[in-house]
């Protein structure tokens, strides 16, 4: 990372105490080769260096003039994760300690209250409760410090949050109790009841809830942790003919790297030597290892299985496929679909609204409540403040998105953002490109039919020799077929490619012709005897081509782009969900029809120019359909962009990650069904969370305010409200975590 061009590196400088040091340090850093722009900020003793200078040399330059420099924020993602886990753990422990302290005081008090009465009548009781009140205050100050601090700070900033509610709720209960103890005469006798236990219990229960939440939240980012964990810490590079292990950030572009069997590939590269099978499943979800040999690309994070590979580093640091996957998943996990917008608006005005409701509830009790109305009012105010939890509302969407998008990434489905996820769950029409999407995208020879006593091997040798000069994908299919059959290819003279027809050339004094009907009939060669067979081939989604020597037809060679094994099943899966599946192709009607029939698509359009694909999408959208478009991400870019959701399908890691709303790393069309299933499951999960949070707040507040009292005599205990507040956000996070176990069913 520290060596690619235009990198920005940040350092903390130690020992710089005077303004004049700045110029000195900047000068020293500028003298390091590769450093282009150096800017030091004296205020926080940090310095930023742009360019491709090595970090080690920069640090050395600073040390040479008597200061110390250490890299800032340059730790690997793994280190950052470890640090976060450590911080989370410390936070968890602190919350648990607070919980023990607060419940340690609150629980015995509550028990006492259940057995005896917490009314204050005698002077002895007053002294006893006064001591209890002070102990409670100390416990609140220690265990609830963060809540009171947060409440005060946000109050000063004219904002209100969960801390505000907790501070107000527990504060009200404590203050009222203290008034009972100190000045009982201001209150009617029946109202002289203390609620110290509520303040302590609420602090304890909410701390417990938060502690569980910290743990549960850690699990929501498991998928990204797994991805980050794929990157090894060191790489073995060949420098000066010697192999050495270096930190991954020190690997240079174009450097030679060695990976041994069982090791993870450290950076993206191109194999220069060796053969091996590489497991890319963590990145692509494709379970089968891929064979790699000279010239093949390999990506960081995949595992080298069988042989040793020597490769040239092509992408390092933040440029690797793995880094861009991590980046995209991270970004997507923090984005929100529109379904969560209402909850956002509500949670934005939530706390002040709850405060107003609490005041209104208190007034209502005072005005209309039975005696002791002041005691009832205090209970109602405290309970309303405590039961309402904006957190559950605010967490409902982001937690599910976090888990859902991470889950998808694990199966090689990269979802750009929450909106794409939400729209995917609503798709009504799915348009599929044929070549490379439904089919493999690699034509192969399927049939060779000989005529006029020709020999198969001989025909293939001549045809492949002739086609070896052509760039056409069909020609390449024939050449590679011949190569697989160990047929040697010879050099052809007078090679001529006739656009849209085929090729001609000369070998051993004979004229060779290979192409479609138009080419053959132009040379007055009879194909009458082969016509019927050619038509049969065409209707079976194959492309028949004629091979002739001089004036005589020798063979029909048919080439077809085979349909992926699971395409038909995957399409059926979509149709079962009620999604209308359409196929678009630039191919001729016969081939299109044959492929469509095989995979069970009734709606198909042949001979579509690439530009017309986008207008086909628009046409469907105009009918009110929500259109998904699946293509290879390169040729189909305009159509992918026009669609409500564009799916770029790729084979393994070749696919352009930034090109579509959803990138399917695995070539199989089954990923499409998986993507829709994961999206739907996530949206359902969000709805459950939102429903839970709404019901909880909408129903909880009136009950807390005492609306049920006139009818059923029910008024909630503030401690119950505290438990409910603690549970609500925990419930949301736990429900979101359920998505981690989601498995898309294949049918």
């Amino acid at each position: 990372m520290s060596n690619n061009k235009d990198t920005v590196q940040n350092f903390i400088i130690e020992g710089a105490n005077c303004g004049s040091c700045v110029a000195k340090i900047e000068k020293a850093l500028k003298s390091v080769s590769g450093a282009q722009r150096v800017e030091m900020n004296f205020a926080d003793r940090s310095v930023q260096v742009e360019g491709n200078a090595s970090s080690a040399e920069l640090i050395e330059a600073v040390e040479n003039i008597g200061y110390k420099a250490k890299p800032m924020n340059s730790e690997s993602e793994q280190d950052a994760l470890d640090e976060k886990a450590k911080a989370d753990n410390a936070h968890y422990k602190k919350l648990m300690r607070n919980m023990v302290l607060a419940l340690g005081v609150g629980a015995p008090l509550m028990l006492y209250g259940l057995i005896f009465d917490m009314s204050v009548t005698t002077n002895a009781q007053r002294i006893g409760w006064f001591i209890v009140g002070i102990v409670t205050l100390v416990v609140m100050a220690i265990a609830g410090k963060q809540f009171y601090n947060g409440a005060w700070q946000s109050f000063k900033n004219h904002t209100a949050n969960m801390d505000t509610l907790i501070a107000l709720g527990t504060g009200t209960a404590w203050l009222y109790s203290m008034v009972v103890v100190i000045a009982p005469s201001v209150l009617p006798e029946v109202a002289r009841h203390v609620y110290f236990e509520a303040s302590a219990m609420i602090i304890g229960l909410i701390s417990l809830g938060l502690a569980f939440e910290v743990k549960a939240r850690g699990r929501t980012s498991e998928a990204i942790k797994r991805l980050i964990g794929l990157q090894p810490k060191t790489a073995r590079v060949v420098r000066d003919n010697k192999e050495q292990d270096i930190a991954i950030s020190e690997v240079l572009k174009n450097e030679t790297v060695r990976v041994r069997p069982g090791e993870k590939i450290p950076v993206d590269g191109e194999v220069i030597e060796g053969r091996s099978s590489v497991d890319e499943s963590m990145l692509t979800g494709e379970p089968m290892p891929v064979n790699k040999s000279e010239g093949d690309t390999i990506v960081a994070g995949s595992i080298n299985k069988s042989g040793t590979l020597l490769f040239k580093a092509t992408h390092i640091g933040s440029e690797t496929t793995l880094a861009s996957i991590i980046n995209m998943v991270k970004r997507a996990q923090n984005s929100k679909p529109s379904i969560g917008r209402l909850a956002d608006v509500i949670s934005g005005v939530f706390v002040p609204t709850v405060m107003i409701i609490a005041v209104l509830a208190g007034l209502a009790w005072l005005n209309f409540g039975p005696e002791p109305s002041i005691a009832y009012a205090v209970v109602a105010v405290t309970t309303v403040l405590i039961i309402a939890c904006p957190c559950a509302l605010g967490l409902a969407t982001p937690m599910s998105i976090m888990v859902g998008i991470g889950k998808a990434a694990e199966s090689g489905i990269l979802i750009r953002n929450g909106e794409a996820l939400q729209t995917t769950s609503k798709i009504t029409t799915m348009i599929l490109d044929k070549t490379g999407t439904i089919t493999e995208g690699k034509p192969t020879v399927t049939d060779i039919i000989n005529f006029n006593g020709s020999d198969k091997v001989h025909v293939l040798k001549l045809a492949a020799s002739l086609e070896s000069g052509s760039e056409h994908p069909l020609a390449q299919a024939i050449v590679s077929y011949a190569e697989n059959e160990d047929i040697t290819i010879e050099k052809v003279s007078d090679f001529n490619a006739v656009t849209g027809q085929g090729v001609t050339g000369r070998l051993n004094g004979q004229t060779l012709l290979f192409g479609n009907e138009a080419l053959i009939s132009q040379h007055n060669i009879s194909i009458a005897e082969a016509k019927e067979q050619a038509e049969q081939l065409a209707s079976a989604a194959k492309t028949p081509m004629y091979f002739a020597i001089d004036t005589q037809l020798q063979a029909i060679i048919a080439v077809a782009d085979p349909i992926k094994d699971d395409s038909a099943e995957a399409i059926k899966r979509l149709q079962k969900k009620g999604i209308h599946v359409v196929m678009l192709t630039g191919d001729n009607q016969a081939t299109a029809k044959a492929v469509a029939n095989k995979v069970g698509i009734k709606d198909f359009i042949a001979q579509v120019m690439p530009d017309d694909k986008a207008s086909e999408v628009t046409k469907r959208q105009a009918k009110g359909e929500i259109v998904g478009m699946t293509g290879d991400g390169i040729n189909d870019a305009p159509a992918l962009a026009q669609a409500d959701v564009g799916f770029a399908i790729g084979t393994g890691t070749d696919v352009a990650i930034e090109s579509a709303d959803i990138t399917l790393m695995r070539g199989s069309l089954q990923s499409l069904g998986d993507a829709i299933a994961v999206s739907s499951a996530t949206i359902v999960n969000i709805k459950q969370n939102l429903f839970g949070a709404f019901i909880y707040n909408v129903a909880g507040i009136p009950i807390a305010a005492g609306l049920l009292y006139p009818f059923f005599g029910i008024l909630l205990n503030p401690v119950v409200a505290g438990a409910a507040m603690a549970l609500s956000s925990l419930t949301v996070v736990t429900n979101a975590n359920r998505l981690r176990f989601f498995k898309p069913s294949k049918s």
Binding site: K84, G150, N161, L210, N334, L360
Partner: protein, 117 residues
Amino acid sequence: MLMINILGALLIAVIIYWFWLYKPKQVQSNNNKITIVVNNGVYYPAHIKVAADKKVTLTFNRQDSAPCAETVVFPSLDISKTLAMGENNTVELPALKVGEYAFHCQMQMYKGTLVVS
């Protein structure tokens, strides 16, 4: 009783004024760069003036271990950033048009506004 009711109504008025009607003080950024401290449930400063049509660099210094503080979201810009604890976390924003841009944590506990003028 009347007094209590009047007090209650006043309290409600204060809540409405303090949290909703009050226009917070805005802090001018220095050359569109500013450091925001995340601590005790708030961003400080929370209301920041920046110049339009110029890149904005915000550095979030997170001192608050509350989980809410972990992510800062700029909903209208579709930008979000996970803030590492105890560190300076830089968020680069593209040049913005005149207007107000809210930013907040995932739960909208921490709130701030960029005032672009």
